[in-house]
């Protein structure tokens, strides 16, 4: 057997992986006891599947030496924290979350392979992405149904999903395509404004569906991409100006936006009605203290939608403020990693793509956690990898898989355009 010197880094990587496994084992045992009423072979299978999938995915990911395996490691830890709490709240949602996870992991690797085989196919397109994103949104407008105050669900063959979540994928590609083919766009009349115009159209479509949170994420991603890649400062300033005007207009035009701002400013006056969700969230977080109440000992079930929109509050209640901070740090690490991928990737298209995906994770986490803490108004956005939700989880893993591909150090850089 050839000598392979285990570097100290490799050793640490192994120990980090054990942490996730240890966490899973301990928390699963606890939750299984707590949910003893539903203790069936199924729940044991659930636990086994979670552990196996995590171990397998991390083992597989390490085989790809060219790419960044930290991404999946961090994500697996995040997911574990989330799924444990979801299962604690409801075994039914726990099972579903795990199924989505399996699908997510599969799509993660699938995305990588597809991109590997077809890397050049994506680089030249721009309009295609815009049409894909807009198409998804228009589809929802026409055929969608309302759930939770926003019309952004579609039902196909018994399964409901949110196209607005999926639209993030073509959107990131759109930005990447725009900046990778900058010269081509600039040669067109008004071409350099195309990206902004396209984004605003998409945001408008979101507003029509009352999906404000995702609109904000899109805005954040666009803005960050401009800061990173836009050479024409006027375009950036124009965007800022339009955004401010847009927000003010939206505030005055849309009653439901004013409502959200009112609730944000003072939810205590209407704790029975509009302020119910956020106040219950705050109660939960306050009840947890720094280390939490202990799994099963708190009352996260009093928080509405604790398994999805307010998963962070439930975590803060039963696992404590320090765990909440740990979650924030994990997201920070994930985003940092993603931005590093963008910096290190010489291929322009995939570099931009990596940045967009990283920012989208960052924006979602910031907006979502900020909302449940009442730092900013609630927006109905979900926490990637943690909140229960098929569309959200699957999309996040797809994006992660794409980011994983972008971290491939061996991508061939196309010759610079003259």
């Amino acid at each position: 057997m050839d000598r392979l010197i285990p570097s100290p880094m490799k050793r640490r990587m192994v120990s980090a992986r054990w942490m996730t496994l240890l966490f899973q084992i301990l928390s699963l045992s606890l939750v299984l006891v707590h949910q003893r009423e539903t203790l069936t072979p199924r729940s044991l299978g659930f636990s086994a599947l979670l552990i196996v999938l995590t171990l397998m995915s991390q083992f597989l990911v390490n085989l790809f030496h060219q790419a960044d395996s930290y991404l999946l490691m961090i994500t697996n830890m995040l997911f574990s924290i989330g799924v444990i709490l979801i299962y604690r709240l409801s075994s039914f949602y726990g099972y579903r979350q795990l199924i989505f996870y399996s699908l997510g992991i599969a799509l993660f690797f699938a995305a990588y392979f597809i991109l590997e085989k077809t890397a050049d196919f994506w680089v030249q397109k721009i309009y295609f992405y815009f049409l894909a994103a807009a198409g998804l949104l228009v589809l929802t407008l026409l055929f969608g149904f309302v759930s939770g105050g926003a019309k952004n669900w579609i039902e196909i063959g018994g399964f409901s999903f949110q196209p607005s979540e999926l639209a993030k994928v073509p959107f990131c590609f759109l930005i990447a395509g725009f900046y990778a083919n900058r010269d081509r766009m600039r040669s067109l009349k008004g071409g350099k404004y195309f990206l902004m115009a396209a984004t605003y159209v998409l945001i408008a479509l979101f507003f029509l569906q009352r999906e404000l949170g995702t609109a904000m994420v899109f805005m954040g991603v666009l803005f960050s991409a401009q800061i990173a890649f836009e050479e024409d400062k006027k375009v950036i300033l124009l965007n800022v100006g339009l955004a401010i005007i847009g927000m003010v207009l939206a505030y005055f035009l849309f009653g439901h936006i004013r409502t959200r701002v009112d609730i944000w400013i003072d939810p205590w006056v209407d704790m029975d009605g509009r302020g119910y969700q956020i106040t219950q969230s705050l109660f939960g977080i306050a009840a947890g203290g720094f280390f939490g109440t202990g799994i099963g000992l708190g009352h996260p079930q009093y928080i509405p939608l604790a398994y999805s929109d307010f998963i962070f509050s439930a975590i803060a209640e039963e696992m404590g403020t320090f765990m909440g901070i740990a979650v924030i740090l994990l997201f920070l690490l994930l985003v940092y990693r993603g931005i590093k991928v963008s910096l290190a990737q010489p291929h322009p298209f995939y570099s931009v793509l990596a940045l967009c995906i990283s920012i989208s994770f960052a924006a979602q986490a910031l907006i979502m956690i900020g909302g449940v803490l009442k730092l900013i108004p609630l927006t109905g956005i979900t926490l990637p990898f943690m909140a229960h939700g098929g569309s959200s989880l699957v999309t996040s893993f797809v994006l992660l898989g794409i980011l994983f591909y972008c971290s491939n150090a061996a991508l061939e850089v196309p010759d610079e355009e003259a």
Partner: protein, 457 residues
């Protein structure tokens, strides 16, 4: 084309935001959390409550106002008299009054730590007792005084702000809140409303005491020749029963409660002066208090007509005041111009009887100078003496009556005053809602009874 510096900038910005959020989480847990944990909408408290011996209420002399029943609750001895102060405690409908404000204290709820919980669970948690500033004897007496009327009485110590009695009628049996809820909700007379602190009434002539301060502070000429009529901008004001008083100074005007005087002088003082004084008396401001209060309204907008100003000057127009605010205001005059912060909680005592908190008086507002306050006090003593309805043998009582016209057509009967005038230990405000009689006829006699009971023994 790639700009690493800018991308790094993004990274730093995002890092800063995430870290700031973490810090906020810590801040939230340390500072905000404890404040909201006891909120009655926080159902987590109810789980603990059935295992916790809720603390009891006592009056200022240590008389028990509630007693424990079962292993976790308590009932009021006088559920109607104290319905608005102590408030109800219902698992279904939440809490009100001091039960709500001091819920955490009554439950002895400690924040998170395992060991605190451990102790609680092992020893069986007992909550803290609340000792109020209320004088039980006086509280019950005032409640009876209001029988057959709607309205409120607030009695306080103007030198400390301690509330001696606060009653509001119509009231309800707070011990039976669950059974009575439906009826209470239907009841158009709104028994749940704490009229003493939240009821907003047109003050009528009691406002003249405050306007008098404005007149004195403005330095305008206080003399006036009354012809029984005063016309301002085409609108004519008359005195009660059309009386004509001839030459008057401020004292005479107060004694006679002359509308003509006050309308004229109000317009001379002007919008700004009146508003400033009213706000020193805590109009348009939220009075800090353990129970919910309403803001008294001194409506002074820059585009007011002279008539509106005039009306405000003698307590009509859009002016509205709570009985609590009135009591504090009149008390401030008696307290050399210092309005004290009102409080009902005197002490918190741990289950072992140790006082863990004792309230200390603090000044809320300086409404006027001591010399003006003393001069006005003399005027108000003369007012009471001339009226005769609130006088008490051997004690100087200062005060003002009022009969406030309002939309119902039946005037509110008011009295606000303090005694003994030189160094008052009691200040009070009484309002009889839609009484249809004058303050002198209906409210002042009640005040006399209260002063007699408290000061003559």
């Amino acid at each position: 084309m790639k700009k690493p510096k800018r991308i790094l900038f993004l990274l730093y910005a995002i890092t800063a935001l995430f870290l700031a959020m973490s810090l906020y989480l810590v801040y939230f847990q340390l500072i905000v959390g404890p404040k909201i944990v006891g909120n009655s909408y926080n159902r987590r408290n109810y789980i603990d409550e059935t295992k916790i011996l809720r603390g009891n209420f006592f009056d200022t002399h240590g008389t028990a106002l509630t007693h424990t029943v079962g292993d976790s609750g308590h009932v009021m001895e006088s559920p109607r008299s104290y319905a608005h102060i102590i408030g109800y405690n219902s698992e279904q409908y939440g809490k009100s009054g001091m039960e709500k404000t001091y819920n955490s204290t009554l439950l002895g709820l400690s924040q998170d730590d395992l060991f605190g919980r451990f102790k609680e669970i092992v020893q069986g948690q007992v909550g803290n007792d609340l000792h109020l500033t209320i004088d039980n004897d006086l509280q019950l007496y005032c409640y009876d005084l209001l029988e057959g009327h709607k309205g409120a009485i607030v009695v306080l110590d103007p030198s400390t702000g301690a509330i001696k009695a606060m009653v509001s009628r119509p009231s309800f049996n707070a011990n039976e809140i669950n059974e009575l809820w439906e009826n209470i909700m239907e009841d158009k007379s709104a028994p749940l409303l704490n009229r003493a602190a939240q009821g907003l009434y047109t003050p009528g002539s009691v406002m003249k005491a405050i306007t008098a301060v404005a007149i004195m502070e403005s330095g305008i000429d206080q003399d006036y020749h009354d012809t029984g009529e005063q016309t301002i901008d085409g609108f004519t004001y008359t005195n009660y029963l059309g009386a004509v008083h001839g030459e008057m100074d401020l004292r005479q005007a107060l004694i006679r409660s002359a509308n003509t005087y006050f309308t004229k002088k109000s317009t001379e003082v002007g919008l700004a002066g009146l508003k400033e004084v009213a706000e020193k008396f805590y109009f348009n401001k939220v009075i800090p208090f353990e129970l919910v209060t309403s803001k008294s309204v001194a409506y002074y907008k820059t585009d007011m007509s002279l008539n509106d100003i005039a009306a405000a000057g003698f307590g009509q127009g859009d002016t509205l005041v709570t009985p609590l605010n009135m009591a504090l205001s009149i008390g401030a005059i008696g307290n050399n111009g210092a309005m004290m912060r009102p409080n009902i909680l005197q002490e918190i005592r741990s289950p072992r009887g140790v006082a863990t908190y004792t309230s200390a008086p603090s000044m809320l507002s300086r409404v006027t100078t001591p010399s003006i306050a003393r001069e006005l006090t003399d005027d108000l003593v003369a007012t009471v003496n001339a009226g005769g309805a609130a006088t008490v043998k051997g004690i100087d009582v200062a005060g003002k009556t009022g009969s406030a016209e309002n939309v119902s057509g039946y005037s509110h009967a008011w009295f606000a005053g303090f005694a003994p005038a030189e160094n008052p230990s009691l200040a009070l405000a009484i309002v009889l809602e839609e009484e249809g009689e004058t303050g002198a006829a209906a409210a002042a006699p009640l005040a006399r009874k209260i002063f007699q009971r408290m000061l003559r023994d």
